[in-house]
């Protein structure tokens, strides 16, 4: 009895925070998405519910295709960020001795700077007089009259990968640390080469960390809107930008809420499907063994 009292006392504060700052706003968003307009303010009551916003998004226009584009951009960013972070995490977990703490700190240092400033830094790097363009023009590959990469969806991808790298490296590093080293010794004793040991032991055992990192990047990237504004140019917009326009300048919270709900459902469906597929993959693996 006493134990359960303590448990409730510990659960209550975070539970209340989640309820007030997460559950209630999400429910408000659901309700708002069925409002005809915002007349009377966000807390007005007595309006006639409608599904017109969902209909207008689903029936036509460029909004749903953009959601699919955003999902693909997010997949690309998550995949490349994981692929780039894995060797770093591997090096930190297996190859470094005493200096691990120092290098971990170095890895996290960019986090001490504002997200926005890191984005603006990329704008300078990719700009027409920036490091990339200057280098390319030095090689004679381009002239400096226009930026090569800035103001495009590729610039959005590059910037986001950079921003997420430390985020991705840490869960992979934690996953690699958990691997029992005696398994690697056993693999070596059984005659496995270093590469075979990595492929058969390290990689499969580190996958939970990689998947966690992947999901952690994928979900926020689908709704990303800052990077496209700063470096995306005319054709770099993502789904999040449309939601931002409708909530901001448009003062059209109902349509914005409907778009946000569709994204929520879409991302959730993708994650569920991915989880299913991965489990199926493991089943096959187990059968083959």
């Amino acid at each position: 009895m006493k134990g359960s009292g303590v448990r409730w006392a510990l659960l209550l504060p975070p539970g209340l925070v989640l309820l007030v700052l997460f559950v209630v706003p999400v429910l408000m968003m659901v309700v708002t998405s069925f409002r005809p307009d915002l007349r009377g303010g966000p807390f007005a009551w007595g309006w006639e519910p409608t599904i017109e916003h969902y209909q207008s998004v689903i029936q036509g226009g460029d909004f749903l295709p953009l959601l699919w584009t955003s999902a693909r951009v997010a997949l690309l960013v998550s995949f490349l960020a994981c692929a780039l972070a894995y060797p770093v995490a591997y090096y930190l977990a297996f190859r470094l001795g005493r200096s691990t703490a120092l290098l971990l700190t170095l890895l996290i240092i960019p986090f001490w700077t504002s997200y926005l400033l890191r984005m603006i830094a990329w704008k300078i790097i990719l700009g027409s007089n920036g490091a990339l363009n200057s280098f390319l023009s030095f090689l004679g590959l381009t002239d400096t009259s226009a930026p090569v990469l800035l103001y495009s969806r590729s610039a959005v991808v590059v910037t986001l990968i950079y921003v997420w790298l430390p985020f991705v490296a840490l869960p992979i590093y934690a996953g690699l640390l958990r691997i029992d080293r005696s398994l690697l010794e056993a693999a070596a004793d059984l005659g496995a080469s270093r590469f075979q040991a990595f492929r058969k032991v390290t990689l499969p055992l580190s996958l939970p960390g990689v998947i966690a990192a992947f999901v952690m990047v994928f979900i926020p990237t689908v709704g990303e809107y800052v990077a496209p504004i700063l470096v995306g140019g005319t054709r770099g917009a993502l789904y999040g930008n449309i939601i931002e326009i409708l909530f901001g300048d448009g003062i059209n919270w109902p349509l914005g809420s409907a778009l946000a709900m569709l994204m929520l459902v879409g991302v959730f469906a993708l994650i569920v499907i991915a989880a299913r597929v991965l489990r199926v993959g493991r089943l096959i693996e187990a059968v083959e063994r």
Binding site: F63, L116, S128, Y151, G233, R235, N241, I245, L246, G248
Partner: protein
């Protein structure tokens, strides 16, 4: 140089303020103390230089400023009940506040400076014969261009000209895009039909091929002009003034369709307990000292022409076209639009941005 540095810093701060959005904003409830006034403002207008007369007459009054990042942000805050006594917005938002009953009429007989405001500006605050606000700051929107790349610009269609491909920058704004589209099409800005809106949307979708980026804040646009990436852009006269002062070869078009002009307005909340103080604050905004700071420190126009003589900086005279008395007659003042029109313009712009 020092001025440029200061302005860049201001611009950077503004960028941060915009990016931080709601986080940078503090909220307070309506003033209950009779000697306190709350104002929902844009960043940088809270400094005492921007309300000199009121500050001097009421040294003990506590003026509290809360901030909004955009017109939509300010409107949404008031609509949600943030409760400030005074709010500062731009054309064409006045109609929205009146429709929702959020503001109250201004007793202009109690404003000592009201008669100094030209009739055109007074009318920008008048709906059905009732004055709901005071006009205060104003400026132009037109095509800003680099004279070393483009010979001359005499039409808004320069923003759609293939010759400038890859070097054009449009402001990231739906209603602004509709106004320009209407000028180029020769349509009546005040009564855009669905077909015209569709045509304007297609114009901007096609324009994506020559547009480098949509600018969100002026610092970003000015950096584009300085680096030479941008040759022609939709711009306000503040950017023109700063680039001119920095020695960048730029000119500000006087398009055949006419420039556009926006007006900043102050209104008093329908629920205020401090109507008299608020009225005094508004009257002070029309005073000479405050106007001088607005003109000289921030390079924006003030609605009272008799104060213009304080401007000695030639670049500023050029940027505000103070030497061209006929300019306002050739200017299209932002027309009042309904919430439905505004909503459909922004939605049109969202579709332009979403299009592949």
């Amino acid at each position: 140089m020092k001025e440029t540095g200061r302005l860049s810093l201001l611009a950077l701060l503004m960028l941060l303020a915009v990016a931080c959005g709601g986080q940078a904003t503090t909220t307070t409830t309506a003033a209950v103390e009779p000697d306190e006034l709350t104002v929902l403002e844009w960043a940088f207008y809270e400094v005492p230089e921007m309300w000199v007369e009121f500050g001097e007459a009421n040294p003990d009054t506590d003026v509290v400023f809360n901030f909004g990042a955009s017109d939509a942000d300010i409107y949404a805050k008031i609509l949600a009940g943030s409760g400030e006594d005074i709010m500062h917005f731009y054309t064409p938002y006045l109609q929205f506040y009146v429709d929702e009953g959020l503001i109250q009429p201004i007793d202009t007989t109690r404003l000592t400076n009201w008669s100094k405001v030209p009739t055109g500006f007074q009318e920008s605050c008048t709906i059905d014969g009732v004055v709901y606000c005071i006009p205060w700051d104003w400026g132009f929107s037109s095509v800003l261009y680099r004279t070393d790349q483009i010979d001359a610009v005499d039409s808004w269609s320069a923003l759609f000209d293939e010759a400038n491909a890859g070097h054009v920058s449009m402001w990231d704004d739906g209603p602004g895009a509709v106004a320009i589209g209407a000028y180029v099409l020769g349509a009546d800005e005040a009564s855009i039909t669905d077909e015209q809106l569709e045509e304007i949307k297609q114009m901007w979708i096609d324009q994506k091929d020559i547009n480098l980026f949509y600018w969100v804040d002026e610092a970003e646009l000015e950096a584009g002009f300085t680096s030479g990436d941008v040759w022609a852009a939709y711009a306000w006269n503040g950017a023109y003034y700063r680039l001119l002062s920095a020695g960048v070869p730029v000119a500000y078009a006087d398009p055949a369709e006419g420039r556009n002009s926006w007006v900043g307005q102050y209104a008093i909340s329908a629920d205020t307990d401090s109507y008299n103080l608020a009225l005094e604050f508004l009257d002070g905004k029309l005073g000479e000292q405050t106007a001088t700071h607005l003109l000289v420190d921030y390079a924006y126009g003030h609605v009272v022409p008799e104060y213009f003589s304080v401007v000695e900086d030639e670049n500023l005279v050029t940027a505000l076209s103070l030497d061209d008395p006929g300019i306002l007659d050739r200017t299209n003042f932002t027309v009042p639009i309904s919430q439905e029109q505004h909503g459909s313009y922004v939605e049109m712009w969202a579709e332009v941005k979403a299009a592949g």
